[in-house]
């Protein structure tokens, strides 16, 4: 019990950090499932967006 009180801040901050990391991983996995690749320029601005996540993307796999 003392240990928890002593390290309260650490536990709280780690929890926050874990949640952030969890969210990022979740988002990345979801994007991957939706077929959004890791293209560095964002796919909305990409001339070939349809290839990555249009109808064709599903056919390819």
């Amino acid at each position: 019990m003392d240990w928890i009180i002593e390290n309260g801040a650490t536990i709280a901050v780690s929890a926050v950090l874990l949640v952030i990391v969890g969210l990022i991983v979740f988002k990345m996995v979801r994007d991957k499932r939706r077929g959004k690749g890791g293209c560095g320029c964002g796919c909305g601005g990409c001339a070939m967006a349809d290839i990555c996540h249009g109808k064709n993307a599903k056919n390819e796999k």
Binding site: I24, G44, C46, A47
Partner: protein, 802 residues
């Protein structure tokens, strides 16, 4: 039921403004550029503010011929999926060629509305278009729009809906245009024997295509040999009568018809004086000036974004926002305070002076910088140089840490002078440290947040100002129409070297990001040329590589003006040299692709469009820093703290890099880079992580502290990282475009080997000149150079039977 949804297809010539209209109608933000072939695939979107209307953006085509990839995409959609209506966007400044496509679209029998775009430009020129006359002559509604200013677009959609209703009532609508007697006679015959069982409105298109002997239609209709022979007789008879082949007869007839229509409906003011486009063209595609102008433009783009405007702001983001903080006012006072502190504590110290002097005499890296700063009594420069090279000095036995470190500890705090705004790390400090400067959380957690995440992500985000400037330039170049001029100018060089001028367009897109660059190679018809373009496109520094360039340029070259532009021109040279070499091999030999390309008129892009394009790119860069980069900084931090603690495997905050997991991994591969001059663990790790995303290179140095390198080592490191295999995303794109594991492997291997060869030459030859001659290395470099020269001058591969 799909009946409820109305599908409107946007069709038109390349570069006529379809995608701009599509964005205006759907409120999406698709990529728009001023060169033909920006859209290669079709895209769908729901119309903004109106339910039940789906807008389909088709690739721009000049004709519905069965030859190029884009034409086939557009044609298959129109013929097989038959949208409810076609909105044909016509560039008003170029009616004749645009209406040629219109005649083909009308023949399809789908309700069509012609939207004349850029009519304001036409009016400005003093020409007059008779819309009603045009509408009567074409037999379909003609409206005026401005896609850019979003004027008239609702009316155009309204007209489409009307047209579908009208078509539903009257069923068969006949095109107003008829071919010459002999052709119509043959068409009537063909319709009767082959396609009378198809819906009435589709018969004519099929008949015309059969007349043209369109192979795709012949295959699709599965006609019996007997029927084919029968219609062939009709075609032959007609060809004999008109003394031409069927394809030309149709094309000529369409164009003649259009010429008549345009003559009747358009009153041209005699435009004898040069248009603005002509004037610009006269200079930028001038015989002698064109290439220098291109070089100067690209030089300026990189120089301004990396070395000037961008760098000023980046200094602030790196040292201020993601550093200690910055002064709003009173920075002079602080500088003065620092200098007097330095004078008192450091520059009087003769012991220190002697050590640095002897280190300099022994040629220790960085000692010269320290010496100069010492002589100038410049406290800021001295501490910066000490930060970069202190360890190098210590390693050579010239440690000044005992003297300098206590001085650094006691230096005046900037927060005491003027108005001081703390940076992000300082803000985190406020949260994580108590009043004694001790972390309130466990020390490992404090280190993870500050040394890992904040340092790593901050290092990457710090380059955003430079990227924003680059993105503005790219958006402008893409939108204004200069790109196709570059392709025009480069065609000759590229063709000599085995690439088509068209290969230059993927390369230009690749300046933003390699992935769409690689994909844009689809516009190249010839398979060999396409493969070669895919292999070479990523040699051009993409925006993710810009931070590496900026880092090396500012940290090792003091922001020298030539470093960033040289990286770009190195990319171009790499493409040309690779093109020549590969073309000489058996796999790539062959005739160059034809180059028949329209040169669009210049136009001034709107500020909004440029800002949108910039923001689109910047926001995804930030997103990437917040996801992939953030996660990997944690992994790197962990990797550098886990390892051999001296008594077995374990975790230690003060782990020496050499003993950590990262150290072992880096050490295992770093020997590979020794001939290139950067065999340190950090450089090796940075290069490896660069494969994940090129921004990682900077992120790694953020977590692990930048390694002091000599300028030559740094440049060699830069060259290797720019030219070697791209990030995973781009490699994935290469695999998709090559559609073959063998070719993908070849592409990536070639890129790595080429990068290695270039770095080797830079470093070894550089060393030979700067007195660090290594005979074996130099001989290797010369051999590599000789091999490249041999490939360049060797006679091209020719097939034996040729």
């Amino acid at each position: 039921m799909s009946n409820k949804e109305l599908r409107i297809a946007l069709a038109g010539n390349p570069n006529s403004g379809k995608t701009t209209l599509f964005n205006a109608l759907t409120g999406s933000n698709q990529f728009v550029g001023n060169w033909p072939g920006v859209t290669v695939e079709k895209k769908e979107g729901k119309m903004k503010g109106r339910d039940g209307i789906i807008v389909v953006d088709l690739p721009g085509v000049y004709s519905l011929s069965p030859y190029t990839l884009e034409e086939v995409v557009a044609r298959n959609y129109l013929v097989d999926e038959r949208p409810d209506a076609i909105l044909n966007i016509v560039d008003g400044t170029n009616l004749e060629r645009n209406l040629y496509l219109t005649t083909q679209l009308i023949d399809l029998g789908i309700p069509t509305v012609v939207a004349i775009n850029m009519a304001d430009v036409v009016r400005k020129k003093g020409d007059h278009i008779d819309f009603d006359g045009l509408s009567k002559a074409l037999g379909c509604k003609v409206v005026e729009i401005s896609a850019l200013k979003e004027e008239g677009i609702d009316d155009a959609v309204e007209a489409c809906i009307e047209a579908t209703l009208k078509a539903a009532e009257s069923k068969k609508h006949l095109p107003m245009h008829s071919f010459s007697g002999a052709v119509e006679h043959a068409l009537a015959h063909i319709e009767e024997v082959t396609v009378h069982n198809l819906p009435a409105e589709q018969q004519r298109w099929y008949a015309i295509k059969l007349f043209e002997r369109d192979t795709k239609v012949l295959d699709a209709l599965k006609l019996s040999d007997e029927t084919i022979a029968h219609i062939e007789e009709d075609i032959k008879a007609c060809e004999a009568e008109l003394d031409d082949d069927a394809e030309s007869i149709i094309i000529n007839d369409r164009y003649e018809y259009i010429t008549r229509v345009v003559r009747k409906c358009v009153k041209k003011k005699n435009a004898s004086k040069l248009s603005t486009s002509d004037k610009i063209d006269r200079i930028v595609t001038n015989r002698f000036l064109a290439l220098p102008i291109f070089a100067v433009i690209m030089f300026l783009v990189y120089y301004i974004s990396v070395s000037t405007v961008g760098a000023w702001v980046t200094d602030w983001t790196n040292d201020g926002l993601f550093g200690d903080g910055w002064h709003i006012a009173g920075s002079d006072e602080y500088d003065a305070a620092l200098d007097s502190y330095g004078n008192e504590m450091l520059f009087e110290n003769t012991e220190l002076k002697d050590i640095i002097l002897s280190a300099n005499e022994n040629g220790v890296l960085g000692a010269e910088e320290l010496n100069i700063a010492f002589a100038d009594k410049d406290y800021g420069a001295f501490t910066e140089a000490y930060g970069s090279y202190g360890e190098k000095l210590a390693a050579e036995g010239f440690s000044v840490a005992e003297i300098v470190d206590p001085v650094l500890e006691g230096e005046p705090s900037p927060a005491d002078y003027g108005t001081w705004v703390p940076g992000v790390p300082a803000l985190f400090d406020k949260l994580l440290l108590d009043e004694n400067g001790e972390p309130v959380v466990a020390e490992w957690l404090y280190s993870l947040i500050q040394d890992g995440i904040v340092a790593g992500v901050g290092a990457v985000l710090g380059f955003i100002p430079q990227l924003l400037v680059l993105f503005i330039f790219l958006a402008f170049l893409e939108a204004c129409g200069y790109m196709s001029r570059i392709a025009f100018m480069m065609d000759r060089i590229f063709r000599n070297f085995g690439l088509s001028g068209k290969s230059f367009i993927p390369i230009l897109i690749g300046t933003g990001c390699g992935v769409p660059g690689i994909m844009a190679s689809r516009t190249i018809e010839n398979q060999n040329d396409r493969r070669m373009t895919v292999i070479t496109t990523t040699f051009i520094p993409c925006s993710a590589k810009l931070p590496i360039i900026a880092l090396i340029s500012s940290a090792l070259f003091g922001g020298a003006w030539w470093v960033a532009p040289s990286a770009y021109f190195m990319g171009i040279a790499a493409i040309l040299i690779s093109g020549i070499m590969l073309k000489k091999t058996k796999a790539f030999s062959g005739e160059p692709t034809p180059f028949v390309m329209e040169l669009p008129a210049y136009h001034m892009p709107t500020l909004g469009a440029i800002m949108r394009s910039m923001w689109e790119r910047a926001s995804s860069f930030i997103k990437k820093a917040g996801t992939v980069i953030l996660l990997s900084t944690i992994v790197i931090w962990l990797g550098s703290k886990l390892g051999n603690t001296g008594d077995g495997f374990g975790f230690a905050l003060d782990m020496e890099l050499e003993n950590s997991i990262l150290g072992y991994i880096g050490g295992a591969v770093s020997w590979l880079f020794a001939p290139l001059g950067f065999d340190s663990i950090k450089a090796a790790i940075a290069t490896l992580m660069g494969l994940l995303a090129k921004e990682e290179v900077v992120g790694v140095f953020g977590v692990l502290d930048f390694e002091g390198m000599s300028a030559l080592e740094g440049y060699s490191f830069l060259a290797f990282n720019l030219l070697c295999a791209p990030c995973f995303a781009a490699m994935g794109a290469i695999r998709r475009e090559m559609n073959s594991a063998k070719w993908t492997a070849f592409a990536i291997t070639y890129q790595c080997v080429f990068a290695y060869a270039v770095s080797l030459m830079i470093y070894q030859v550089g060393m030979a000149f700067s007195g660090g001659l290594n005979i074996v290395g130099l001989v290797c470099a010369i051999l590599v150079a000789a091999l490249i020269v041999f490939m360049l001058v060797k006679r091209p591969y020719k097939a034996k039977n040729n």
